[in-house]
């Protein structure tokens, strides 16, 4: 489904991604972990098509299309979904209106008929159940004055509505109490199928108790420096990141000397 090959990206003069390699197949769940500032959100943003980042090398193939050639909205229409680490407040635009616009623009891109008000009503009702979200929240201006938990729930609700092929969840667990975490994770699990895939970006192992990954990768200084299965997440939980940092830094030092 997704094949990232030696992806490099910078912002301004600062090189952030320094050769990412990652392959995600349909039906898989990948976790990307790593210390703060290692480039996890940058990777997520680059995949979603944020133009502030300049891709300086490498390629990304998504179901046979060159993802990097597409505008952000085209990537969304192709089935990429990014649940934001910091969902943006959009005054004056309700979640429902926002999603109606999004759904119909995506349908237009795919050459499908637009959905009408009745169809939307039915569909929203059904998806609201996934994350146990309230209609009143959806009528309010998008994310404006939402609590941290409401914002994250709303992201998963949007994901449920848009039914992406590849969902990238950027620290969707941060700031959530255990109940909210469970609801969000259950929502994600309900949406999982053999045809789609999920990349879970997280700092902590606890989300992975609920969304069980097939693979775990550690990102550090813009590279995936270690990959494994869910046991790796447990090990990181126990030992922290310092040992990995030490390994990588020693290696880099070695390279510099050589």
């Amino acid at each position: 489904m997704l094949k990232i090959d030696n992806l490099q990206a910078k912002i301004g003069e600062k090189q952030i991604l320094r050769g990412i390699n990652l392959e995600v197949k349909a039906g898989e769940v990948h976790a990307i972990m790593g210390p703060n500032g290692s480039g996890k959100s940058t990777l997520a943003s680059v995949l979603a098509g944020r133009e502030d980042y300049e891709v300086t090398g490498g390629s990304v193939d998504f179901n046979g299309t060159d993802l990097l050639e597409l505008a952000a909205e085209e990537r969304a229409a192709e089935g990429i979904f990014l649940a934001f680490q910091y969902p943006v407040e959009i005054p004056g635009v309700s979640t429902t209106n926002f999603l109606k616009t999004a759904v119909n623009e995506i349908r237009k891109y795919r050459g499908e008929e637009p959905m009408d008000a009745v169809q939307f009503l039915k569909m929203f009702k059904q998806k609201m159940a996934y994350v146990n979200i309230d209609q009143s929240l959806l009528n309010r201006a998008l994310n404006e004055g939402f609590s941290g938990g409401e914002k994250k729930k709303n992201e998963i609700f949007q994901m449920a509505v848009l039914e992406p092929k590849l969902a990238i969840l950027d620290e969707t667990d941060s700031g959530l109490d255990i109940d909210a975490l469970r609801i969000v994770a259950e929502g994600v699990n309900k949406l999982k199928s053999p045809d789609n895939a999920v990349i879970v970006v997280t700092h902590y192992q606890r989300l992975l108790d609920y969304i069980v990954p097939d693979f775990v990768h550690v990102l550090y200084k813009g590279r995936i420096v270690k990959s494994g299965t869910k046991e790796l997440a447990l090990e990181l939980e126990e030992r922290g990141y310092d040992w990995i940092k030490a390994e990588v830094d020693a290696e880099e030092l070695g390279e510099t000397i050589a």
Binding site: F84, P87, G92, V93, L99, E105, L162
Partner: protein, 438 residues
């Protein structure tokens, strides 16, 4: 003839011609006011950008053009249909090139609720009322355009709401500039007196037709008595070749509420002055504005609220979306007199620049002589939030649609202040069109 100010020379000579035909009426009290005003206009002349109040708004192109005042028009019932505001009900009065058109107009409110006369009829039929209020609270001493309008005060409307009356149907003044044949000009003068504890909604809606230039120099005076409540709308949808200079002057008594909504959907060169004096306690003035200039349009809003008495409140919110090479101006004055303790005055002007070539000049001006007041003001001018745009794109919304949605949401706050549904819908549509243009 003075070439540099051809319009000025034309107007002064027009005044003499009109006066020559007046016979006895030239001695009336109203005409004395006109004569005074003409003198003021002659002395002041049209402002230049050296004038502090006109620093950003250059009327040079306007005053060097020739216009036909009160030009004949074959504005027809079909034209009415084409330019009407859908689903609008109420007292709808048409003025074409300044002149009242009775055939196109309809007055539905009973005479017991509302007295409506053309301004010229009011001079004859209600001389006492007209003399009592006419030009009693305007800036005709220092604004050449108001002086000019006052000198020619003849066309326009007189509305009188007696005390203790709720006027259920709004009064809609449709000013049509029919510039399909020649450059046209008009100077409507409206006088509106709202009695104690009465309520009324009044709209001025400007529209122009045709390819030639039009010039409207409008003055509306409001006298809002104790506990009265007035909703006022100024809706502008004129051509790119339309010049509009307008002044609305409001004198509010105690416990009255006056709400002004000034929305400029389109116009070439627009200057709106809104001057409110709160001359009583526990009164409230609301000033809301929205302007969406594009191309080379120039839209200038000058507002002034003068708190003369204690315990009153003013709220102001103006918003602008500026595209292409458009220029916007906002000047908001708040005066709080020494007596006006416990005044609350809030002012906010927010603008979004949609192009590198668009510009906005904002100037809040606060003069506060009382010490126990709450005043706040803030102006912002910026671009649409890039994070919001990306967030929307990441959900599949194209950049253009995302921009339009954000602009619309930005404008909505002001549109939502509108209380007449038909006007709200009409503006909503105009604004959506304008936002999606280019």
């Amino acid at each position: 003839m003075d070439n540099k100010n051809s319009l000025k020379a034309q107007l002064i000579s027009d005044f003499q011609t009109i006066e020559g035909r007046m016979n006895g009426a030239a001695k009336s009290a109203v005409h004395q006011v006109r004569q005074e005003a003409l003198k003021t206009f002659e002395t002041l002349g049209f402002p230049t950008i050296k004038h502090e109040e006109w620093k950003y708004s250059n009327v040079k192109n306007l005053v060097n053009q020739a216009f036909e005042f009160n030009a004949a028009s074959d504005f027809s019932a079909q034209d009415v249909a084409d330019s009407s505001i859908p689903n609008l009900e109420g007292n709808i009065l048409y003025f074409v090139n300044g002149v009242y058109n009775a055939a196109l107009s309809s007055i539905v409110s009973p005479a017991s609720e509302l007295q409506i006369l053309t301004f010229s009829d009011a001079i004859k039929q209600e001389p006492a009322l007209v003399e009592k209020y006419f030009n009693q609270y305007t800036d005709s001493q220092n604004n050449a355009f108001t002086a000019l309008n006052t000198a020619f005060a003849h066309n326009g409307i007189f509305v009188h709401v007696p005390a203790n009356t709720v006027v259920t149907q709004p009064v809609i003044l449709r000013f049509i500039a029919d510039a399909r044949k020649v450059n046209v000009a008009s100077q409507p003068r409206n006088l509106i007196v709202v009695g104690k504890r009465s309520e009324v909604q009044i709209a001025e809606a400007y529209r122009s037709l045709g390819e030639n230039a039009s010039f409207t120099n409008a003055v509306t005076e409001f006298f809002v008595e104790e506990e009265a409540n007035v909703h006022y709308y100024k809706v502008q949808n004129e051509s790119d070749k339309a010049y509009h200079i307008g002044t609305t002057s409001v004198l509010q008594a105690g416990k009255s509420v006056f709400t002004a909504n000034t929305v400029t959907a389109n116009g070439g060169f627009v200057r709106n002055n809104l001057n409110i004096k709160i001359d009583g306690e526990y009164a409230e003035a609301n000033m809301f504005g929205l302007y969406i200039p594009n191309k080379k349009q120039h839209i200038d809003n000058h507002t002034a609220v003068d708190h003369a008495k204690p315990n009153s409140e003013s709220n102001e919110l103006y918003k602008g979306i500026l595209k292409d090479n458009a220029v916007g101006v906002f000047n908001g004055k708040i005066f709080v007199r020494e007596d006006a303790q416990k005044t609350n005055a809030f002012q906010s002007c927010k603008n979004v620049l949609m192009s590198e070539n668009a510009s906005m000049n904002t100037k809040p001006q606060l003069e506060i002589w009382a010490d126990d007041v709450k005043c706040s003001h803030g102006t912002t001018t910026g671009q649409l939030n890039e994070d919001a745009l990306f967030y929307m794109q990441a959900r599949g919304i194209s950049k253009d649609s995302a921009r339009a949605l954000l602009m619309l949401a930005f404008a909505q706050e002001v549109i939502d202040k509108m209380k007449i549904p038909a006007i709200k819908e009409y503006l909503q549509e105009l604004i959506v069109d304008k936002i999606y243009q280019g």
